[in-house]
């Protein structure tokens, strides 16, 4: 049968391939700090820079595109699976480079996020991606941020080459257990995902050691002062990187050049789909913690499952994306990375899912009322961080300000403490803000009432209202 092949314009390709890439969550440009250079274009900032916000409220930081949405794999949940009948297009390396350069000069984007469907075979696909990045860095002299998704099953040499060109590498875990992966992504296996992940993490560690840095990635400052955070324990990465006879687990540069770039200076990340299979939150948070400790990942992203394909193995097509659950998981992720919590403190076998009504930190505090109330003047930094309504910034401010004088509720508020949550748990000058009992039932009731609106908003993002105006009557009339 003859296939009608239509040649798309760059704009049409951009429409198709950006649309196909939008389900990838990661769009961060953080973690890498690089100065600009004369004759080149671009720099990177450690804090990351968002350039716009799309209608779903997610930030647009990188030019997030697929190189192609042709795919030989048939992952059930994916819009680009081989069995779907959708328009397919492929960018040439030059097209991607030009788009990136021109967008970057107009300050639309912070860099490139390049992912791809699998065309022909993983190695061929990866080779094309590698070619694109090499063109962009060497011919176009692009010095901005590049995030590259690796293709499971590609060869190690290519993985290594890509790592020396990009700032961040990610391998998508997609699903947290081997069983779910086998069920929904028959062409992938846990091995083809974890193996490159391990190699990348070893190489990052070895590369960091070779330039005189600590083997582990930089973490938020607050972790320096926390003795029992998840990053304080587990020297897994270091021991593996320094173990000399383990070079087959390292990705060494294959091409000799004068200036070898750092290997993925912004680290590695991954992404998991939630809601497509029936894992509990406990499994997800435990997996997350393990990824941070053992593979030293910089970020783990969650993506609420959005039903786009009909399949007997998947939730039905009219399932709403579990946005509130995703939100709770991200809150837990932050608690792991910035607040010194551990997965087992947040959830347990008996209580495997997060409370829909209150956030995980409040939930923890309510189960540990014996440590509260705390006096802000004397409480330790890690206890301050564990108090609802106090974050790393305000805890830092409290610790430095209390050396020079007494704190009161007014100044706490100015420092950024969210008193509507914090006031049940803290004392200033030996007093509470209001006369409230330290009782689980009472505080839970109060917190649920204050959280109610926020939770509803997260779960019902689609519904939007606007203020009524007397000039709207025509629309109302039209509706009636």
């Amino acid at each position: 049968m003859n296939e009608i092949v239509k040649e798309y314009s760059t704009q049409e390709k951009l429409q198709i391939l950006a649309d196909a890439a939008k389900y990838d969550v990661a769009c961060t440009s953080s973690g890498s700090d690089r100065k600009g250079q004369k004759g080149m274009l671009g720099n990177t900032r450690a804090c990351g820079i968002c350039h716009s916000f799309s209608a779903d409220g997610r930030c647009i930081s990188l030019l997030k595109i697929l190189m192609t949405n042709h795919c030989v794999f048939d992952c059930k949940y994916c819009i680009n699976r081989a069995s779907n009948d959708i328009p397919r297009a492929t960018f040439s390396p030059e097209e991607i480079c030009q788009l990136t350069m021109e967008f970057y000069k107009r300050n639309y984007i912070e860099g490139l996020f390049l992912s791809s469907g699998v065309i022909r075979n993983p190695t061929y696909t990866m080779e094309k991606m590698c070619e694109t990045l090499s063109l962009l860095r060497n011919k176009y002299k692009f010095n901005g941020y590049i995030h590259v998704k690796t293709i499971p099953g590609a060869s190690d040499e290519l993985l290594g080459m890509v790592g020396y060109l990009a700032d961040r590498i990610s391998v998508n875990l997609e699903l947290p257990t081997a069983e779910s992966l086998e069920k929904l992504a028959p062409n992938k296996s846990f091995n083809t995902i974890l193996d490159p992940m391990e190699k990348v993490s070893n190489t990052i560690a070895a590369n960091r050691l070779s330039i005189g840095k600590d083997a582990r990635m930089e973490r938020s400052n607050s972790n320096k002062y926390l003795s029992n955070s998840i990053f304080a324990t587990g020297k897994y990465v270091e021991t593996k990187a320094t173990n000399g006879n383990n070079t087959n687990k390292l990705l060494l540069p294959t091409v000799k050049t004068d200036n070898i770039r750092k290997f993925a200076p912004a680290g590695q990340s991954t992404q998991m789909i939630i809601g497509a299979t029936n894992e509990t939150d406990y499994t997800l948070v435990r997996t997350t913690q393990k990824l941070y400790q053992d593979y030293d990942l910089k970020r783990v992203f969650y993506s609420a499952y959005i039903p786009i394909n009909e399949d007997s193995a998947l939730p039905s097509i009219d399932t709403a994306p579990p946005l509130l659950r995703e939100h709770r998981l991200y809150q837990a992720d932050w608690l792991l990375r910035f607040y010194g919590f551990k997965a087992d403190e947040l959830l347990s076998e008996e209580k495997p899912n997060f409370n829909e009504m209150v956030d995980p930190k409040c939930d923890w505090a309510l189960r540990h009322l014996e440590v509260f109330p705390i006096d802000v003047q004397t409480a330790s930094y890690d206890l301050l961080l564990r108090t609802p309504g106090i974050g790393p910034k305000s805890a830092g401010r409290i610790v430095s300000a209390r050396r020079y004088g007494k704190l009161d509720f007014n100044s706490l508020k100015k420092m950024g403490v969210v008193l509507k949550r914090a006031h049940y748990f803290i004392l200033c000058n030996g007093r509470q803000m209001y006369h409230t009992p330290i009782e689980e039932a009472y505080i839970t009731r109060q917190l649920v009432a204050t959280h109610g609106k926020e939770n509803w908003e997260v779960a019902h993002q689609q519904t939007s209202y606007k203020q009524m105006s007397i000039f709207d009557y025509q629309e109302i009339g039209a509706m009636g």
Binding site: Q11, L14, K22, L41, A55, F103, R397, G405, Q461, S464
Partner: protein, 257 residues
């Protein structure tokens, strides 16, 4: 009460602080207020004194701040001088009163209301500068010169310009503050400089923003394609990208006919 007033320029403000301080040494700090011009409504019971910039006094004030307090405090003072807040100059003065009394520790004394006010002002400047690092949009004039129009509340385009000088050193570009009528200009491979613009120049530059090419169009395409319908959340978008900042953002302006 005596009110010392000056132009909205850094040098003038420093001189103003010098003169006010000098007067306050004999009359008390409580009886001084500093304000930037224009002063729309004078009150009956206050004396007003206009101060003009004087280089020698400027040097003295800066030297004292850096020596007796800290370089960080000087940075705060400089940031606050860019603020559009009504009481910014007075806040600087009050901050310096605390600063000269306690020294370098002043920057972490968050419980002191004067220090806290200074932090708030400084934070606002830093935040707005960061917003415009994100949301500034350049339009290309024949791929040779890149022009960006901004209307920030605070005077932040110098800070924004620093960022782009590092980012695009080998391009010609300029960032124009439409309200304050001046521009940060960056010639290829050279240093930034500031240029005050005349009305004629402003009119000539006004049209540069309307310049469209295939990439402005493609950016709009990309912007619309990347959003997920099932997760639409306009309120969140508005929180993250406030409407007043969208005035010069390509993706929110309609394509001209």
């Amino acid at each position: 009460m005596r009110v010392f007033s000056c132009e909205d320029k850094f040098e003038a403000m420093m001189t103003c602080i010098y003169d006010a301080w000098n007067w306050a040494l004999t009359n008390g700090h409580e009886n001084v207020r500093l304000q930037r011009e224009p002063i729309y409504q004078q009150s009956m019971f206050e004396e007003y004194e206009h101060v003009d910039a004087d280089d020698e006094k400027v040097t003295k004030v800066i030297r004292s701040i850096r020596k007796q307090i800290s370089d960080q405090a000087y940075l705060y003072v400089f940031y606050a001088s860019l603020s559009c807040e009504e009481d910014a100059l007075n806040a600087i003065y009050n901050f310096l009163r605390v600063g000269f009394a306690v020294g370098a520790n002043v920057c972490s004394m968050y419980a002191n209301p004067h220090v806290m006010r200074m932090m708030e002002i400084k934070r606002k400047i830093g935040n707005e500068a960061h917003y415009f690092r994100e949301f500034a949009r350049f339009s290309s004039l024949n791929n040779k010169v890149y022009v960006c129009h901004l209307e920030p509340k605070n005077n932040v385009i110098m800070i924004v310009g620093e960022h782009f000088a590092d980012r695009m050193p080998s391009e010609h570009w300029m960032i124009i503050d439409d309200n304050r009528k001046f521009a940060v200009v960056h010639p290829k491979d050279e240093q930034n400089y500031i240029r005050y613009l005349t009305d004629v120049e402003m009119i000539a530059l006004k049209n540069s923003e309307k310049y469209e090419d295939e990439y402005t169009d493609m950016w709009r395409t990309f912007f619309n394609a990347i959003s997920i319908k099932q997760r639409e959340n306009i309120a969140c978008q508005r929180n993250m990208f406030p409407i007043w900042m969208r005035k010069h953002a390509t993706e929110f302006t309609e394509k001209p006919e």
